[in-house]
């Protein structure tokens, strides 16, 4: 029996050497079947064990087991070698031309710069405890003018070239987002911290004016609100938007729905206030109007102006987008030009 085991071992070693010389998946499998298969040589030997006397069994069993371990180990080695060879074959040859264009199942689109700015602003204001409101774009004269202290036939109405509708008397395309102040106060009451965005319309069209444009509107009403709070709110959100160290200037001006009213100027970032072409040598860039809510407005929406005071401001969103992305031409924003639109990211979180 020992001899038989020895001869099978020798036979295996010989065959495995042959197999190694020209390593093929088929010959390796044959080798495995030949020795480890159901009808293989090792199985044959195992069956012979029954014929062995009891005393000899442990010894013979041991060497038979050693042979099995040897064969299994050898075959595993050959398998690994075969696998390694196949793998190295598959990574031979030249590297890819990495300059070829990537295959894209869908290319990404883009968001409009006005949307990007709006999102950024709403993130800032939401963190400051504001709620975002919207309102009608086509609205009654009352919400757009009357409740905002624009008296009938007052020349203040000439400040905003208004679109009127044919079959709807007393209805206008809103000239500013300030109508939302009225809707929000009527629906929600006070105190209120409101922010609104929206499309607005004026019948004016030239290089720097489009008949439709975007505004943002902010309204804060509470007890004890002062002009100092207005200045603080504007300064703090502009710092978030444009960075610390920006300078603002508040110039007295007139909007019927605020008193005192002011225009807000931002120090020109291009020349640091020295005066340049962009700021027309003034050192300042006008960014919007603001003021303390006029008591007449409070009275129009049933808020007691002796108890409550408030501030409001309205800025042009398009111009802010142009500032942020250094865009030269306002009209480009609304042209639908794909070459222009593709300059912007597809995600709000740039």
């Amino acid at each position: 029996m020992i001899e038989k085991i020895e001869s099978v071992k020798l036979e295996f070693l010989k065959q495995s050497v042959d197999c190694q010389k020209d390593l093929q998946a088929s010959t390796l499998e044959n080798l495995r079947l030949n020795f480890l298969g159901k009808k293989g040589k090792l199985t044959e030997l195992s069956e012979l064990m029954k014929t062995i006397e009891k005393e000899q069994r442990p010894l013979i069993g041991k060497s038979l087991n050693e042979l099995r371990i040897l064969i299994e180990g050898e075959i595993e080695k050959l398998k690994t070698a075969l696998n390694d060879r196949e793998l190295s074959k598959s990574i031979s040859g030249k590297a890819l031309d990495f300059s070829l264009p990537g295959k894209r199942s869908t290319s990404l689109g883009s968001l409009h710069p006005v949307s990007l700015v709006r999102y950024k602003l709403s993130e800032i204001f939401k963190r400051m405890g504001f709620t975002i409101y919207e309102g009608p774009e086509v609205d009654l004269d009352f919400y757009n003018f009357g409740a905002l202290n624009f008296a009938d036939h007052h020349p203040a109405r000439d400040m905003q070239d208004t679109f009127f509708l044919k079959s709807y008397p007393n209805t206008v395309l809103r000239t500013h987002t300030s109508n939302i102040e009225i809707h929000a106060m009527l629906n929600q009451g006070v105190p209120i911290r409101a922010l609104a965005f929206g499309r607005t319309y004026r019948c004016d069209s030239d290089l720097t004016h489009t008949p439709m444009f975007h505004q943002m509107e902010c309204l804060v009403v509470d007890e004890g609100i002062s002009f100092a709070h207005l200045k603080g709110q504007i300064q703090s959100f502009l710092e978030e938007l444009y960075g610390k160290g920006i300078k603002t200037r508040f110039r007295p001006s007139y909007f019927p729905f605020v008193e005192p009213g002011a225009e807000v100027d931002l120090q020109c970032a291009h020349c640091q206030g020295e005066g340049c072409r962009i700021c027309k040598n003034t050192g300042w860039i006008e960014i919007g109007g603001c003021g303390l809510t006029h008591p007449n407005v409070f009275e129009a929406v049933g808020v007691n102006s002796e108890i409550y005071s408030g501030f409001a401001f309205g800025f042009g969103l398009d111009r802010m987008a142009m500032n942020m992305y250094q865009l030269p031409d306002l009209r480009q924003l609304f042209s639908g030009d794909a070459d222009f639109l593709k300059l912007f990211p597809a995600s709000f979180n740039e």
Partner: protein, 856 residues
């Protein structure tokens, strides 16, 4: 309003301030300086000089050789010049204006060194005309004895001025005058008016006039509060406008017309009070009647334009009741002052702001006069203005005869009084430390009068020239703007209440935008204007409900005459724009509003539910009250367009990939999945819905629902519409999607409720089977899916996916073969093969029974 710097300096004391200081002070007090421009008539050295000697020119009889003395502009050293001069009045001893070499006189007259008939000349002695001082050109200008040698002539005559352009807000009618601006400036700079004499005192009435005063009668309804008039005659037609008036008018942007008109304009700029001068000859009986016009009454304005009046217009008539002026707006051609006018009537009056505005607007006329009246003109300035006019006329024509002043005053209104509380002012402005004294000083310098003071509450009388001051807040504004907004600190308003909840549509639509961009679309924002022409190109006929657009009363262009009632067409315009620039395959989206006639909804009873949905009250977020308030509905919509080709040919793909309905369906399913909208179903157009959506391809477009909610439509653009928009690409057309964002949100909110109930993670293994069947062509994928999902077995079938679709002769006509991958799964245990086989058996039988399907 344009200010003359020189004029301003004449009115108030600005010695301590530079031009820059003043411009800053104006802007800081709310009178925004838009521009400040030098108005130099002459540049370079034009100086006071003295003629020392005068000799005859050796080669010319008319010319003289003069030796002229002056001092150097900067060093102050004495200098002499040899000048050739032709003026008859050139003589030794007189002081003259010398234009040295390098000077430039009006009309770009450059002074150079020259030789005149062999004699060199180092400059020129100037006449008044050459200097632009007056029309006088008889000889050279003779200056006063005491004029300082070397002094700039421009300074001496105020020829170099600055024009300061102000943007006066509509509430500050009072600042449409030199005096008004000067008043604000005094308050801001803490300076004062130069003492000027009362204009009344300048009028010399030596003898009692033998001239009757004009007659005035005012109709009560005519909106005329005051009317003052005077007659002046014996004005010689040779009078000329004084140079200072001419120069200042010019700097202020007004043309010099004639001496009398110039005076009228000058006084208006000075006092802010419009006035009018008539040729007395043309005003019958020197009589003024102020009345409302009769309907259709005609009148020819000064500028020659004829207008047809209406009852609301106030007119001024003469003794024969014929109109001589449109009150407060413009005079008439008939009574205009002419070159030979020697006898005039002066009018200074007060008219109702609203009446003037209505009339001016109606006729589209904006004059200096109507502009001021609309903004409110104070009755206090009437007499001042009238006396100034009389004074200036008398200066020019000392021999003129002036009538007594005639006037009419409507009942006097006692001046407004307003109380100001110091603590209120401090609280509202944020100026915690501003003193009572500061407030009082500021208000005083602005012309307000303190009537009373009790502790920290003061009572103020509001001057007539400030109709904009109506309540306490206006006084607070006056104090803070003059005190300076820059002195107010920056503070942050504390939050005293939890924020209000937000309308879900706001974050939903932002999210929608982000998803669309991720899916490959570029966001567009377009003007929501449309026109009949757009509808025509969309196959929308005259009788179609969508043909009733919301029309603008004053559109900027015919192509923008209405508000859009569909959103996708503006994206088609953008596709055209890109095509015209050689860009194909653009994928665009927009989230915007459609504007619908609410009136229309009621007339839609005989159209399908789908179409009513389009107009439905789903539009509630922005149009909640639209119906009650009779304004158009606003529907927030999503539109997407895909231009062909979807993808150009690539190195790995030889021909361009075209977009088709299934591609866009895939996109839309991704979209609805990302947004958490429930399962979508797609319904083919029927014969009637085809008519309602005539811009859609009848076979390759569908209506979209989520559960039973109508979401919108999507598919290929109708080939005819595509042709009309010139958007065909070879034989294919763009794809369009338009969905109702509010319906999408509604569906999202519904779905969210259900989601909460069943969030299960599958833990047991899945068994898979393939199923291949042959069915009749009419059976849709959805029929099979429905049958599979509702099969009467134990329902372990959890997922069905189509992986093959085949039609061919081998199957027989009218047949198609479909193959599905089925997944079975239980979340309680591992399914046995037996169980799954059994369920497959039931499924096959059900398909056979319900749909006549056969196993392949």
């Amino acid at each position: 309003m344009i200010l003359s710097w020189n004029w301003l300096n004449e009115i108030i004391d600005l010695k301590k301030f530079s031009l820059e200081d003043v411009c800053k002070a104006l802007t800081d007090s709310g009178l925004e300086v838009e521009a400040c421009e030098a108005k130099s008539k002459i540049t370079g050295p034009v100086i006071v000089a003295k003629i020392l000697e005068c000799q005859k020119h050796p080669n010319a009889d008319q010319l003289k050789l003069c030796k002229v003395e002056s001092t150097h502009v900067t060093t102050g050293e004495a200098q002499t010049f040899n000048i050739v001069c032709g003026a008859p009045n050139a003589r030794p001893g007189i002081k003259v204006a010398l234009a040295c070499i390098g000077a430039v006189l009006p009309e770009d007259f450059k002074i150079k060194a020259s030789k005149i008939r062999g004699e060199s000349s180092e400059g020129m002695l100037c006449s008044a005309k050459e200097l632009g001082i007056s029309a006088e050109d008889e000889g050279i200008l003779e200056l006063q004895e005491n004029a300082t040698l070397g002094k700039s002539i421009a300074d001496l005559f105020g020829l170099n001025d600055y024009a300061i352009t102000l943007n006066i807000t509509p509430n500050r009618g009072d600042c449409l005058s030199m005096i008004g601006v000067a008043r604000d400036l005094c308050a801001k700079l803490n300076t004062h008016f130069k003492s000027s004499s009362d204009p009344k005192k300048n009028i010399h009435t030596t003898t009692l006039p033998d001239l009757d005063k004009p007659k005035i009668s005012v109709d009560e309804q005519a909106g005329c509060s005051d009317f003052y008039s005077v007659r002046i005659k014996n004005i010689p037609s040779t009078i000329q406008t004084p140079s200072f008036i001419q120069n200042r008018l010019e700097v202020s942007g007004m043309r010099s017309v004639s001496p009398l008109v110039d005076i009228s304009n000058y006084v208006m700029l000075e006092t802010g009070h419009p006035n009018h001068i008539y040729d007395a000859k043309e005003v019958y009986g020197s009589e003024f009647k102020i009345r409302l016009a009769q309907d259709r009454e005609k009148f020819v304005l000064l500028d020659g334009k004829e207008i047809e009046l209406q009852k609301q217009d106030t007119v001024i008539c003469d003794g024969r009741n014929s109109i001589v002026a449109l009150a407060g707006v413009m005079g008439g051609l008939n009574s205009e002052v002419k070159e030979d006018t020697q006898d005039i009537l002066v009018e200074v009056a007060g008219f109702d702001a609203v009446c003037i505005r209505k009339t001016a607007k109606k006729f589209g006329i904006k004059t200096e006069s109507s502009y001021r009246f609309e903004r409110g003109v104070s009755r206090d300035s009437i007499q001042n203005a009238l006396h100034k006019i009389i004074g200036y006329v008398q200066q020019l024509a000392p021999e003129c005869v002036i009538s007594p002043i005639a006037f009419f005053n409507a009942s006097t209104i006692s001046p407004k009084t307003i109380a100001l509380r110091l603590d209120r002012l401090r609280k509202i402005s944020g100026l915690d430390l501003i003193s009572e004294e500061t407030c009082t000083n500021i208000l005083n310098s602005l012309g307000f009068k303190k009537l009373d003071q009790k502790q920290e509450r003061s009572l103020w009388e509001i001057p007539n020239f400030r109709p904009d001051i109506e309540r306490e807040i206006d006084l607070i504004e006056e104090v803070t703007r003059i005190y300076g907004f820059d002195k107010i600190p920056y503070q942050y308003a504390p939050m005293t209440k939890a924020p209000h909840p937000e309308n879900p549509i706001i974050s939903f639509s932002e999210n929608l935008r982000a998803v669309c961009a991720t899916l490959g679309f570029r966001e567009c924002i377009s003007f929501p204007f449309s026109s009949r022409d757009d509808l025509n190109r969309l196959n929308i006929g005259e009788h179609h409900p969508l043909s009733h657009q919301v029309a603008l009363a004053n559109p900027l262009a015919e192509s923008e005459s209405s508000l859009q009632n569909l959103l996708f067409p503006s994206l088609l315009k953008a596709l055209q724009f890109n095509r015209n620039h050689g860009i194909f395959g653009t994928k665009l989206f927009e989230v915007g509003r459609c504007f619908l006639n609410p009136i229309l909804k009621e007339s839609l009873t005989n159209v399908s539910i789908e179409f009513q949905s389009y107009f439905s009250s789903q539009a509630r977020y922005f149009s909640e009250k639209a119906h009650n308030e009779n304004r158009p509905l606003e529907k927030l919509s999503l539109a997407m367009v895909i231009d062909q080709p979807w993808e150009d040919k690539q190195w790995y793909q030889q021909s361009p990939v075209l977009a088709d309905w299934f591609l866009i369906k895939g996109i839309c399913e991704n979209l609805s999945h990302s947004l958490g909208i429930g399962t979508l179903s797609f319904q083919a157009l029927t014969e009637s819905t085809q008519k309602l959506f005539p811009f859609l391809h009848p076979l390759k477009s569908c209506l979209v629902y989520s559960e039973k909610t109508w979401i919108g439509f999507m598919g290929e653009l109708h080939p005819k519409a595509s042709q009309a928009w010139d958007l065909n690409y070879k034989k294919s057309v763009p794809l369009i999607v338009q969905w109702d964002v509010e319906a999408m949100l509604e569906s999202r909110l519904q779905t969210r409720k259900k989601e909460k109930a069943k969030i299960v993670v599958e833990k047991f293994p899945v068994s898979r089977r393939d199923l291949s069947i042959v069915v009749s062509e009419n059976v849709t994928n959805q029929n099979i899916l429905d049958t599979l999902i509702n099969n009467p077995s134990k329902r372990n079938l959890k997922k069905v996916e189509l992986f093959d679709l085949f039609t061919g002769e081998s199957l027989g006509t009218g047949k198609k073969s479909l193959a599905y991958a089925l997944e079975f799964h239980s979340n309680k245990r591992t399914l046995t093969d037996k169980e799954v086989d059994l369920e497959m058996q039931i499924i096959v039988e059900t398909l056979k029974k319900n749909l006549g399907a056969e196993l392949r």
